[in-house]
Symmetry: C2
Subunit: 403 residues, 2 copies
């Protein structure tokens, strides 16, 4: 039986260690470009060693597939690196906590950091998570007690670069899931303090992380949330091409034609929060190019729901559920408003369509991405939605279901 | 005789004050879009008052041209608003100081701020301006004494938002020239501290400025330096379209075609400094859209030279001349190296071509832009180069001329 990642090779694996006198990561070129420039395309190949299996010595990374490697085990979600070390930045949040439990129960080695800002932001709005959640210390005890999972947690702000560096150096994560950005467009538009806070927190935090990864774990993949909102809504109705322009997209002008394949499509972010995501995109994209880092930028639809097998296992394991106007995403807010019998707040006409995905499905997607790393230097964009709906339809459904 | 800005109207002038119940700046749409949505395109028009000529009451801003208005005088560089208030952020720098003297001698009302960072950065590199310059206090005395110009200067970091706000509120500038960003790609690539400093200084500084302009001087134009480097060098050799895609540029894909006109072309910045310029572009572009601010983004070629009539008038009025590897631009550095008889440092093969412009010409361009403001909501891009040369050719010329 073949899995989605069966044919990936050591070239994608975080366990490789590049050998030889050339530091590929410094050259700002893909291996193919590098080999063609060096004029040794035919003879030369990248040579690596495996950090987990030093006994096999130096080898060609394309010669061993995940399917062949004993360190990659067959699981129902594909081949998985045994005891793979995943660090979650923002592990106290709605998605971070859920993913920590999800991965832990699958046997991943989970670590994480958080500074509890999400709790503060929601309090600042005068709101609170409508599903009560435990404090982190209690969460960590509960997860050990109930699910027998150890989460290596450290409280910190990722903008505290020396501390982040120390923790990453200690853990040496094989994948880093970055949920530590402020995720609210309305929050970023409150005033200048909020706008500058969001961009500083998101953009400078991520830029510091990129340097730390370059120095300590260049083979780890960075899995980071972008936003579908980066693209805006072009008035022409042209396709958005979430990710790069496809190879067969072309620019026509002045009776000539050029391929646009592989370039980043135009962006038009509708808030300073969305600007921060665009600003991140350029930093991450360029870091992959300059240093051969590898990253998935997740263009995630709006997530709804609150249950996974783990978060539902015990009240102490619940994840948060925000319904306020800053941090409550639309379905969650509609459901809460409908249940409470108060009018549903629809921004704009309600005619806008958005992509959605259930929490459980989002966790499955993340797992599959974590075990299917990009190759060195690759900045890849992944759309994560399972359905597209009009807002007014969702409002109708929420109101109707609760009636 | 007609000038380049003769047909601009009060619609472009910083002296207008929007009247009526609609706050155009809050609607995130151009006037045309707004009027067509409101369904009153035929009947409705924007009504304004003039801050300088309150006696004319409420009028249609398109009804008076610069040529007709007595507040706009005929000068050899076009129509100029009498005693126009221009604030220069970064007035202690190479361009800022030169422009301050230039505008002052033309009769503009010049104010400016600086925190002297450029002096610090060059010292950090162990270098110094090879043309000796005075301290700001002495500069201000000299400019008064020798040229009879008053420059309203205040020392501050534009990231100190309350102080910047206070000064802008006091001066109420009619145009703001923003030279207060860190302009060095190599500086931004030194390490994580330098990279995060540059992005924080540039992006957060400019974002704060945008909010301040929205609140206090939404009719003033922002004239800001971008970089030709934002665009990268597309491998296809397609045109860069500095600015927006032209109206007749089209996207072809899947046997269909869409106009790209007016969208921001793809970017691919080659350093974290250049990333900061891209990040700025999105913030400024969106602020113009959200709030009807107006901005020129100057995609400036590499500037060379050190003389204008004012800077050459007295040694105390000189502007700086940096030749180090962080802040010395290429021609200035080549000339200094050639004169000193040391080898010219050429980055890369020398085969790359870049756009150049002489200091004096750059000042002329800036003056023409200042008196020709964009319209409300307009984000416009201006290319400012006068010649394109190969780096190796310049090295040859510098070496040859000094031999």
């Amino acid at each position: 039986m073949k899995y989605h990642n069966a044919e990936k090779t050591c070239w994608n694996c975080p366990c490789i260690d590049f050998k030889g006198s050339v530091d590929f990561r410094a050259c700002g070129q893909s291996m193919k470009q590098f080999l063609s420039i060096s004029g040794e395309e035919e003879d030369m190949q990248a040579m690596v060693e495996c950090k987990r299996r030093p006994e096999i010595g130096t080898f060609d990374p394309a010669s061993i597939t995940f399917e062949d490697c004993p360190e990659w085990e067959e699981r129902d979600f594909g081949y998985a690196l045994k005891n793979m070390k995943v660090m979650i930045l923002g592990i106290d949040g709605y998605l971070g906590w859920t993913l920590g439990l999800w991965l832990g129960s699958l046997g991943f080695n989970v670590s994480g950091v958080d500074n509890y800002y999400r709790r503060d932001w929601v309090m600042e709005k005068g709101s609170h998570t409508v599903v009560p959640i435990s404090k982190m210390t209690e969460r960590l005890h509960a997860v050990k007690e109930i699910l027998d999972i150890n989460i290596n947690f450290r409280k910190m702000d990722i903008l505290d670069r020396p501390r982040l560096r120390e923790f990453i150096d200690e853990v040496k994560p094989e994948a880093i899931v970055h949920y530590a950005e402020c995720p609210s467009a309305p929050y970023s538009m409150v005033d200048v303090e909020h706008a500058t806070f969001v961009q500083h927190n998101n953009v400078i935090g991520t830029l510091g992380l990129l340097f730390t990864m370059r120095d300590l774990v260049p083979e780890a993949s960075l899995i980071k949330l972008g936003s579908l909102g980066e693209y805006g809504s072009p008035l022409t109705g042209r396709p958005l091409f979430e990710g790069m322009f496809p190879a067969d997209a072309a620019l026509q002008w002045d009776n000539r034609e050029w391929s646009l394949g592989g370039e980043l499509p135009p962006r038009d972010p509708p808030s300073f929060y969305h600007c921060s995501k665009v600003q991140d995109t350029f930093n991450v994209y360029e870091a992959c190019k300059y240093w051969w880092l590898r990253s998935y930028d997740i263009m995630q639809g709006v997530i709804y729901g609150v249950h996974t097998n783990q978060t539902a296992a015990n009240p102490r394991l619940r994840t948060r559920f925000d319904v306020d106007e800053w941090f409550g995403t639309v379905i969650n807010r509609f459901v809460a408003q409908a249940v409470a019998g108060i009018p549903l707040t629809i921004y704009g006409s309600g005619g806008q369509t958005r992509g959605f995905i259930a929490l459980r499905d989002a966790m499955q997607c993340m797992t599959r991405l974590i075990v299917s790393p990009p190759e060195p230097g690759q900045y890849d964009v992944v759309n994560q939605i399972s359905g597209v709906y009009r807002i007014e339809y969702l409002a109708y459904r929420a109101a109707y279901s609760s009636a």
